[in-house]
């Protein structure tokens, strides 16, 4: 990491990077929401209505999390046996007892842990940002990037159910059908994804000790450039 002088924010300089095309624009007389000269997307220092929209989506997601886990997500009917309803958790147990411990862990993490952790983390991020807390800013910024990155993996069970329903259709012998729990579960995944996309991580840093006065652009200090570790997408 390089030297860290006082950080100057774009808001203080009244410049903004277009969220759609990355163009840096000086907001002069234009107000928030003026169109980007390059791509016409509205230019804003912060996303709009973050708290009301994120909370609405997040509360809906946490309410639906209950039926998503309690209601069965699929029903298996086999010849000579009573139909069996599976919830997400019983599906994990089934994988575990069948000996696929690695897959059982993957499904458990993707379907049960990730949505729960995501809801709790977003609630924490929203509360701390609303209170303008200075607690662990860097850590909160990192955890937000992580939940953004892993969120869509929770859709796993939706695809498993759809595939099993397509494969196991032997009229009288056996068949598998999706149950309403799958609908609630899919909704939870979509709602948490929407909620975390609505959050604006810049709010974590607002009210951070600002530079004494806004520095002119040429005094803005240079960025740290660490050599990227060998990664597959390295040029």
């Amino acid at each position: 990491m390089a030297e860290s002088g006082p950080i100057v924010t774009a808001t203080e300089l009244n410049i903004v990077a277009c969220s759609a095309c990355g163009q840096v624009v000086k907001l002069g007389a234009e107000r928030e929401g003026a169109p980007c000269p390059r791509c016409a997307a509205p230019l804003r220092h912060r996303k709009r209505n973050v708290y009301s929209r994120s909370w609405a989506l997040l509360i809906s997601a946490s309410i639906l999390y209950v039926p998503a886990n309690l209601l069965p997500i699929m029903r298996t009917r086999t010849i000579g046996g009573a139909p069996r309803d599976d919830t997400i958790l019983s599906g994990v147990v089934e994988l575990w007892t069948a000996g696929s411990i690695d897959l059982a862990i993957i499904v458990f993490v993707a379907s049960i842990v990730v949505p729960l952790v995501k809801i709790a983390t977003l609630a924490m991020l929203l509360i701390t940002a609303q209170r303008r807390s200075s607690w662990a800013r860097r850590g909160r910024a990192r955890i937000y990037r992580i939940i953004e990155f892993v969120g869509h993996w929770s859709m796993l069970d939706i695809f498993v159910v759809a595939l099993m329903a397509a494969l196991v259709r032997f009229q009288t012998l056996a068949d598998i059908t999706p149950r309403p729990g799958a609908v609630a579960f899919g909704a939870v995944v979509v709602l948490t994804m929407l909620a975390s996309r609505r959050f604006d991580p810049r709010l974590i840093w607002d009210a951070a000790p600002a530079a004494a006065s806004a520095a002119p652009i040429d005094e803005v200090h240079a960025v740290a450039a660490d050599a990227a570790p060998a990664s597959p997408d390295q040029a």
Partner: protein, 203 residues
Amino acid sequence: MANHAIVICEHCDAVFQRPMLAPGVLARCTRCDAPLYRNRPLDLDVMLALALTALIVLVLANVFPIVTLQVSNTEREATLWGAILATYDTGVAFVALLAALTVFFFPLLQILLYLHVLLPMRWGLRTAGFRYSMHVLRAMQPWSMVEVFVLGVLVAVVKLAGMAEVTPQLGMWGFALLTVLLTLLNSFDLHQLWDIAQERCDG
């Protein structure tokens, strides 16, 4: 141009000068540690090749069955659309819709939009509706979930293995390959595409 003299961290709003980086190096924000930008030239030919291959692979992955299941003398095979329709038939239309959008329509639309944007650009022509295509392309990225679907196939195969004989088919390899191609394609920075388009128009 001012655009290239400074960089604003999208994650914490900090402003930095934008130094030239050695090839392949990633610049990170000193305040919040988010990645800022990477010195990685955007090669239109590579992107085009990836998009074209992805289109062909997507077609193949959808035409061939993903897995077959054998119980006594009956055999069933599943394609992606078989799975979507089976889910729809059994009354959970929302689940069918999610699968159709995230594994079929969004990836397909992504690939077509890449081709639509890149083909004229490659030969220095104007792309009709460039702005609109780029905005849709950006909005689509988080909702395209082929990689999750591939893991889902794996889990379904293991779950059914105790019940019947399950064999992975060509479609499964198609989706696996499509995952790799889309990951590579999406690793390119769309902002750079805007920069290239702007240079072409100005110059």
